[in-house]
């Protein structure tokens, strides 16, 4: 009896062909009934140049082959439902199943965006209540739910700043961005028509009020601040910073990517922020692995409210209605009213927690991050001594002396069964390991993660070469990321 069997199924070997390679001529994934109306000649109806009889190399596969193909691929995935997902700055928290139950309620899941207002009152009320709750959580006067995700929220926010300043007579020229910012911040400012000026962080990884003071003049439209910032540190001078900007007529934008450290504890509107976006898919737990959909709610102080995207939700005679009469609005930023399914989940999360529950979640997120920091600090160099909020950032200086960098440690972590942390960001940290556990992890899961990283630190001391070539336990070992980036093959060719 041979040890290996001749017929090894792809789900065991973890090899899977592309659909193109599974293709056999004549196979289809559909069955249509006999035509019971007069046949139409497509070429005659549409013009011959608009009709093609064959799509070259289009995969011809059966329904069951397609289902098996994608089901097998789905088993290669790693997600929050399998274990800790410590991707810093991404707030990969568990999505409670009550969110899914609520989002699947028939009247919500099947609501059509074009059904009349009279039949949409429930959905509109969900949006209105969420706007109200987010306004309370942010400390802001008004909220729009239109933006589709974080960067879209940033863009909306900076366009609001521009519209407001234009209404004052001068849109101004520059947006200030700290050197620790998410890359989307400078990109947003540029797309909104501003020049970007980068501000150097101080040795604590924070904005230096003296540096800011020197950089602000009447050409500065706004500063984009992430708080807590991308090294997981609260900008302790935030009130002073907002004061410096406001004194020169500049607006203060807050990137709410790290809002998970503040909910129920501190309100951006109370520390001087004029406009912020919140990634509902991070802080309010909706699923966001694999690129979304997300939701980038934007909150503003009253002076920016007239410029919010149209239409606005209003209540008249006990009925919800869309108000298109917003003459100063920047216009629509998205069709309909945002990613509604995500909004439903975010509201379910907020209501299930209530005020004290949201605050507890925040405090647990901080506790978990600081627990990891304390356990790992003997093995990895902490980047800044300032207290950590919801995430902790290490640098790879100790491991670098053995020739092992943060990317290698992340690859080895895959062998231990964890998704990697955020690698090499922010750039102001030398070889960053950015770890955000979120509040949804148990002490047991955190301990298992720490033990893995500590084991890797020990491996680096004894056998750095082994770590440099990880991972070994995956179906594909170390991939050549450099060649993939330099010479990408983005299309299958026969």
């Amino acid at each position: 009896m041979p040890k290996t069997l001749g017929k090894i199924r792809p789900h065991l070997t973890q090899n899977e062909s592309l659909l193109f390679e599974l293709s056999h001529p004549g196979k289809t994934g559909y069955q249509l009934p006999e035509l019971d109306v007069p046949a139409v000649d497509a070429a005659e109806a549409l013009g011959g140049e608009n009709v093609r009889t064959e799509i070259e190399h289009f995969p011809e596969v059966s329904e069951v082959e397609v289902i098996r193909h994608f089901t097998r691929l789905s088993t290669w995935n790693y997600g929050i439902d399998l274990g800790l997902f410590p991707l810093g700055s991404c707030t990969m928290k568990y999505n409670p199943r009550i969110n899914e139950a609520v989002a699947r309620i028939e009247g919500l899941a099947w609501a059509h965006p074009y059904q009349p207002e009279s039949l949409s009152q429930g959905a509109m009320e969900i949006a209105a209540v969420l706007e109200q709750y987010l306004g309370e959580i942010f400390g802001m006067d008004a909220v729009t739910l239109q933006p589709a995700a974080g960067a879209h929220g940033e863009y909306t926010g900076i366009m609001l700043v521009r519209a407001y300043l234009e209404s004052q007579g001068n849109p101004r020229k520059k947006v200030l961005v700290p050197d620790s910012a998410h890359g989307t911040n400078p990109a947003t400012a540029i797309i909104a028509g501003y020049e970007v000026a980068t501000l150097k962080s101080n040795e604590q990884g924070m904005i230096d009020p003296a540096v800011l003071e020197a950089a602000v003049d009447d050409t500065v439209a706004a500063m984009m601040i992430t708080n807590p910032n991308t090294v997981g540190v609260f900008e302790e001078n935030i009130v002073k910073i907002a004061g410096i900007l406001h004194a020169k007529g500049a607006q203060v934008y807050m990137d709410g990517a790290n809002l998970n450290a503040l909910v129920g504890v501190a309100r951006p509107g109370d520390f001087g922020i004029d406009v912020l976006h919140s990634n509902l898919h991070k802080t309010f737990s909706t699923p966001h692995g694999g690129g979304g959909p997300g939701a980038g709610a934007v909150g503003v102080k009253s002076h920016l409210e007239p410029f919010l995207p149209t239409p606005r939700l209003r209540q008249a005679n006990g009925q919800w209605t869309w108000d298109y009469n917003c003459p100063q609005s920047i216009g629509r930023v998205r069709a309909y009213y945002g990613n509604f399914g995500v909004l439903v989940r975010a509201l379910a999360y907020i209501m299930a927690h209530g005020g004290p529950g949201l605050r507890n979640a925040t405090l647990d997120a901080l506790l978990n991050a600081n627990y990891l920091r304390a356990k790992l600090a003997p093995y990895f160099q902490i980047a800044y001594n300032a207290p950590s909020m919801h995430e902790c950032v290490f640098e790879d200086t100790r491991q670098e002396s053995k020739g092992v960098r943060t990317g290698d440690i992340a690859k080895r972590l895959i062998d231990y069964g964890f998704h990697p942390y955020t690698v090499s960001f922010p750039m102001i940290v030398h070889g960053a390991l950015m770890i955000e556990p979120t509040e949804t992890e148990s002490k047991q899961e955190l301990d298992a993660f720490c033990e893995s990283l500590i084991a890797i630190a020990n491996e680096i001391d004894t056998d750095p070469e082994m770590v440099k070539h990880a991972p070994y336990m995956t179906r594909t070992s170390r991939v050549d990321e450099v060649t993939a980036a330099r010479k990408p093959i983005v299309r299958w060719k026969p």
């Binding site: 890359g183 690698v423 090499s424 960001f425 750039m427 030398h430 990321e481 450099v482 980036a485 330099r486």
Partner: protein
């Protein structure tokens, strides 16, 4: 790594080498080492103006996209076309073949304000 004495350096990790009124600009060995494997280099158009301290282009590595800041002002005379085909040259020879742009200096006096090789080496702690 050797940091040529004839070059001048910035704290943003660019170098400039001056010959008459022509300046050649590149990024330092320290910069390429920090960036890691470089996969794409974005350079300005020939004939355009670059301004001290402003971005003249960007370098993309597997880690991140980073701005290149002009160490001095001037008009772009030539860009290094080698880098479009072979961005890895920037990892191999950042002070030589993998220069980025040549410019006509509009204010040659600016060069004296930049760091010497010794000062740059002490800045990066090498």
């Amino acid at each position: 790594m050797n940091y040529p004495e004839t070059f001048r350096y910035t704290k943003e990790h660019e170098w400039v080498s001056v010959d008459g009124d022509t300046g050649t600009i590149g990024i330092t060995d320290h910069a390429q080492n920090e960036l890691g494997d470089i996969v794409y280099v974005d350079l300005p158009k020939v004939g355009g103006a670059i301004e001290t301290g402003k971005s003249l282009g960007s370098v993309e590595s597997v880690k991140a996209v980073s701005d290149i800041y002009a160490p001095v002002s001037g008009e772009v005379l030539e860009i290094n076309t080698l880098l479009a085909e072979a961005p890895e040259k920037l990892n191999e020879d950042p002070h030589g073949d993998a220069w980025l742009v040549k410019i006509r200096l509009s204010n040659p006096g600016e060069v004296a304000g930049l760091l010497s090789a010794e000062e740059y080496k002490s800045f990066i702690g090498s």
